[in-house]
């Protein structure tokens, strides 16, 4: 194929609609006679539900119906988890507990829905929610994950004998053995706290049951329309072909829109069928802080064994992972953390034990980064402390430990989030690290600039952190490519899109395969009526799994085109060329036919065809990688701190990425910018604060601080390209990369900025108040 588009900075074809407000988001769906839903949610984190009195709510003018678990009959019951069951690893424990549509007996987190009000509009629905009298008998809340594991802790799930949701150990080599011979052991307790994804668009569901055609249409802000379609069909006892789930334009997702099933995702369609009316529920921002999943709380007891010259002999870590009230998303997060705790380093001995813990808090599922930032934070913090102990430059100690280029494919003898072996497919790490150091002027800064600034009494520090990202995991995606009589190409795939530019990057692949103008390739994503099979947009897999499925089907179409054209043009296939929407004989250009004409010929409406002929220039293909592709990158930062006010300014930020083949650099850069911005939030601004009763103390954008244009610096980006051998495009994912190294990088740079305090930052995120406390402790010591 020609490489006319792949690798080019192509403007996004979806943008004009987004820029003019014409793009359809779920809350833009208006249907005649549509009703509106609002939820009564628990103010308590943990309580028995004694009674709910909805009579006043039902009596309110404009209220159509009110449902509670009682009035739902058997349908209140929890659904099955829609993600794969845990792996068959030795001794793995997993207690599956999935959320319920409405609370029947016991509330397990603040914000858990107790009743749903359906009214003529949302205002009345909210008035009616205030009319409901609910009697909750409070119980002691399980909040702290360490206390939760003590024998006397109250239980989130009464039928279990502890709050342990899952337990998984993974081992490589023999850490205990090498520990004996190690020159240096760095052992620390490290804590990463909880944050929210805060997509600018909250979640929402619109459902329309058509009794005449017995079909259900659902508009849902989901990253996985096909999984939702299948799940709904199962829950509502419908055929998958009776249910159409549409994920239109989505206002950002970042993981939590993946989580399957949200109570509202099941309830709104259920109500629509019950009442035979279209129903809309749009999550408001306050609900979003309780009802949409969150991530990152982990407590690690980690250690690293090294030699005197700074070589890592092994890493060992035992950690608790906060799962929240349920665990519908299985083991993805702890497995991701386990897979990143060796970073990009050649680590021969590794032991990791993970305990997943139920708490009376909002459910935990992946948020951009998904367990990876925690793993990277652990290994990088330990390595920084080791470098200090050993008097080795932070960049140097990293160079000494990077996996060498000739070691790929490099097998860690553990499993990844897809339960596949963790194998680093390809990589050339050192040049990326060196490029980052070079771009930020590491040596010059450390030698000249920093001493000068310190002499002026300024506190400016530098950090540099390499990291890996497991991307492009299976199982599979599929796509159908069709040449239409107009000569334009239609592409359908099952993944949803939430701003990643799929409409454009996927079109670039097809345009190159079929030699057409990228603007003539029309892509449909996220509509189960258009494509039946698929899993979803997650784990930075779009540009790997979906892109390669699209590439594969475009290839098949190309073959069909050439086969038919060679008959029509009476010339051998190898003499034909595809370009500008025309198939022509290479050296006799006047012998040619346009794609459109050929498409017509491929779909004869009269006459006879050879037996076995398939109509149309169309093909469907699937792609499932053997295992995930491992992307690599290195970020560097220069930050200034005012130790009197604790205010910081990021002076420079450099990101060098190797995500294999880059389909559209413009889009890749955008992905990195966004990831880093979240990472900055996770480093110094964004923390969900819960009190000892499980009450969230910052459930608004006034108090939960996501970075603005004033906090996010200009990000200088560099690229290296090491193709993945696991897929024909050679691509690796990049969607989450930006967010992964930032907290580790920030901690390193902050320590470097405040040498006189000799800080050890063993937590993320930090905050001005927390930094003040840390500095105070040091001041008292001095």
């Amino acid at each position: 194929m020609t490489k006319k588009y792949i690798g080019k900075r192509i403007k996004r074809s979806e943008d004009p609609r987004l820029l003019t407000g014409e793009a359809l988001f779920v809350d833009d769906v208006e249907i005649h006679g549509m009703l509106h839903a609002a939820f009564l949610r628990s103010d308590y984190a943990h309580a028995y539900l004694r009674s709910v009195d909805v009579s006043a709510a039902q009596a309110r003018e404009g209220v159509v119906a009110v449902f509670t678990a009682e009035t739902m009959g058997d349908d209140w019951q929890p659904g099955p988890p829609l993600v794969s069951p845990p792996p068959t690893v030795e001794d793995v424990i997993f207690h599956s507990r999935t959320q319920v549509p409405l609370v029947k007996d016991k509330v397990r987190h603040v914000g858990e829905p107790i009743a749903i009000v359906i009214a003529e509009n949302r205002y009345i629905a909210e008035d009616a929610v205030d009319d409901i009298m609910v009697d909750l008998e409070p119980l002691d809340a399980v909040v702290d994950i360490e206390k939760a594991m003590q024998p006397d802790s109250p239980l989130v799930h009464d039928d279990l004998d502890s709050n342990l949701a899952a337990h998984i150990e993974q081992e490589k080599g023999d850490y205990a053995a090498i520990r004996e011979g190690a020159d240096l052991i760095i052992k620390r307790r490290i804590v990463i706290d909880r944050g929210a994804a805060v997509a600018m668009e909250n979640r929402g569901v619109v459902a329309q049951w058509d009794a005449k055609s017995q079909r259900l249409t659902v508009w849902d802000t989901t990253q996985a329309p096909i999984a939702i379609r299948n799940g709904l069909a199962a829950r509502l006892d419908l055929s998958e072909h009776q249910v159409r789930v549409i994920a239109p334009f989505i206002g950002g997702a970042f993981g939590p829109k993946m989580m399957m099933f949200y109570p509202e995702e099941m309830l709104i369609p259920w109500v629509s069928i019950k009442l035979d009316r279209p129903v809309k529920w749009i999550e408001d921002r306050y609900e979003n802080f309780y009802a949409t999943t969150q991530e990152r709380r982990q407590v690690h007891d980690a250690e690293m064994a090294l030699t005197l010259d700074g070589r890592i002999l092994g890493v060992s870590d035992v950690f608790l992972h906060d799962s929240g009230a349920y665990d519908p998303y299985g083991l993805t997060l702890p497995l991701n953390t386990q897979c990143h705790m060796m970073g990009p380093y050649d680590v021969a001995n590794y032991y990791s034990e993970s305990k997943v813990v139920f708490t009376n808090k909002t459910i935990v599922t992946p948020v951009r980064g998904a367990g990876r930032p925690q793993g990277i934070f652990i290994v990088e913090r330990l390595l920084d402390l080791a470098a200090k102990e050993l008097g080795i430059d932070p960049v140097e100690i990293r160079k000494r430990n990077l996996i060498p280029p000739d070691a790929f494919p490099y097998e860690h003898k553990i499993i990844d989030q897809a339960f596949a072996p963790l194998i680093f497919d390809s990589g050339n790490y050192k040049p990326v690290l060196e490029k980052a150091a070079d771009m930020i002027g590491y040596d010059q800064f450390v030698k000249d600039e920093q001493p000068r600034l310190r002499a002026e009494g300024r506190h400016v520090g530098i950090g540099i952190v390499p990291f890996i990202e497991t991307t492009g995991v299976g199982p599979y995606e599929g796509a159908r490519v069709t040449v239409e009589a107009s000569g334009k190409i239609n592409v359908a795939t099952g993944v949803g899109t939430q701003g990643q530019g799929h409409f454009t990057s996927f079109a670039q692949i097809v345009a190159d395969q079929l030699g057409v103008d990228v603007r003539d390739v029309h892509l449909v994503t996220g509509d189960t009526a258009e494509f039946h099979w698929g899993t979803g947009t997650f784990a930075s897999r779009g540009s790997v799994v979906a892109a390669n499925a699209i590439n594969a089907s475009a290839k098949l179409v190309r073959e069909k085109i050439l086969a038919l054209a060679s008959k029509v043009l009476e010339s051998p296939e190898d003499e034909l060329e595809l370009a500008d929407g025309v198939i022509r004989v290479a050296d006799i250009p006047r012998i040619s036919i346009s794609l459109g004409e050929l498409a017509m010929l491929a779909n004869p409406l009269r006459g006879a065809v050879e037996p076995g002929t398939e109509p149309g220039l169309e093909a469907t293909a699937y792609f499932g990688p053997q295992y995930g592709a491992i992307a690599f990158g290195t970020h560097a930062m220069i930050v200034e701190v005012d130790p009197q006010t604790m205010m910081i300014e990021i002076k420079r930020y450099v990101a060098v990425e190797d995500c294999g083949t880059v389909i559209n650099p413009l889009i890749v850069d955008g992905q990195i910018h966004g990831g880093v911005s979240l990472g900055i939030g996770n480093s110094y601004y964004e923390k969900l604060v819960f009190d000892e009763n499980g009450q969230l103390l910052n459930a608004s954008l006034m108090d939960y601080l996501i970075p603005t244009a004033a906090e996010v610096p200009r990000i200088e980006i560099g690229h290296e390209e090491t193709r993945s051998p696991l897929n024909p495009l050679g691509s690796k994912g990049v969607g989450e990369a930006g967010a992964i190294p930032v907290p580790a990088l920030f901690a390193q740079a902050m320590e470097n900025a405040l040498p006189e305090y000799d800080l050890e930052i063993l937590e993320a995120p930090l905050s001005p108040n927390r930094l003040f406390e840390l500095l105070r402790e040091k001041e008292r010591e001095l």
Binding site: Y286, Q695, L697, A699, M702
Partner: protein, 209 residues
């Protein structure tokens, strides 16, 4: 949220006790009260409308006085529910005779606040409770003086419950002078016993400002 501290009253322990346990005070103590019933010897239930600045809301509360050891200690258990959230609290009050005619009050409360109040109004909780407790105690001490004066024959004064604005001002501002006017004595008298309650009730209603 913890509330604890000490305060020295310029009066004998019996008088302080009498003041803080005067039951008929409760009925008219809190402004905006829509109903307040004594449902047991030491148990009260009521519905009130509390207001601070723009923020106002209807609140139903239950107060139980227990473990009474006159004139030394008692424990207060509070349950309150309102649209903006809930508050459950326990307060322990201990009066210690200093032997010099003054009384040391030690109070120690644990309040659980939930709902929009805790999650949206967090910024304001600590500051408000702080100033309210300080002012509650100071005004109570002044009330105590007034009571002692009344006892010593200054005669009875007919009771006039405070307006909501007076109440808002009272909790928000040190009431020095006015506190002595015995027209307010009774409702101020309750202040410290239910200071935890009031703090909570007010807090419930200032979230989000």
């Amino acid at each position: 949220m913890k509330l604890e501290g000490e305060y020295i009253f310029d009066g004998p322990r019996e008088d302080v006790w009498e003041l803080v346990r005067d039951p008929d005070v409760l009925a008219t103590a809190l402004p905006g009260t829509q109903s307040l019933d004594q449902v047991g010897e030491n148990e009260y239930e009521g519905v009130m409308n509390v207001r601070i600045g723009p923020v106002a809301g209807v609140f139903s509360g239950r107060i139980v006085v227990s473990d009474e050891v006159p004139p030394e200690t008692c424990t207060l258990t509070v349950e309150g529910k309102g649209k903006p959230g809930f508050i459950n609290g326990t307060g322990y009050v201990n009066l210690i005779d200093q032997g010099d005619g003054t009384t040391l009050m030690k109070y120690d409360g644990e309040i659980q606040i939930g709902g929009r109040l805790a999650s949206v109004g967090q910024r304001l909780l600590d500051t408000t409770s702080k100033s309210m407790i300080r002012q509650g105690l100071e005004t109570l001490n002044k009330a105590l003086q007034a009571r002692i004066a009344v006892k010593t024959g200054s005669g009875e004064v007919e009771y006039k419950p405070p307006s909501e604005s007076e109440f808002a001002a009272a909790v928000a501002k040190d009431m020095a002078g006015e506190a002595l006017s015995s027209s307010r004595t009774k409702w101020i008298a309750i202040a410290v016993v239910i200071v935890i309650v009031i703090v909570a009730l007010i807090l419930i209603n200032i979230g989000g400002g």
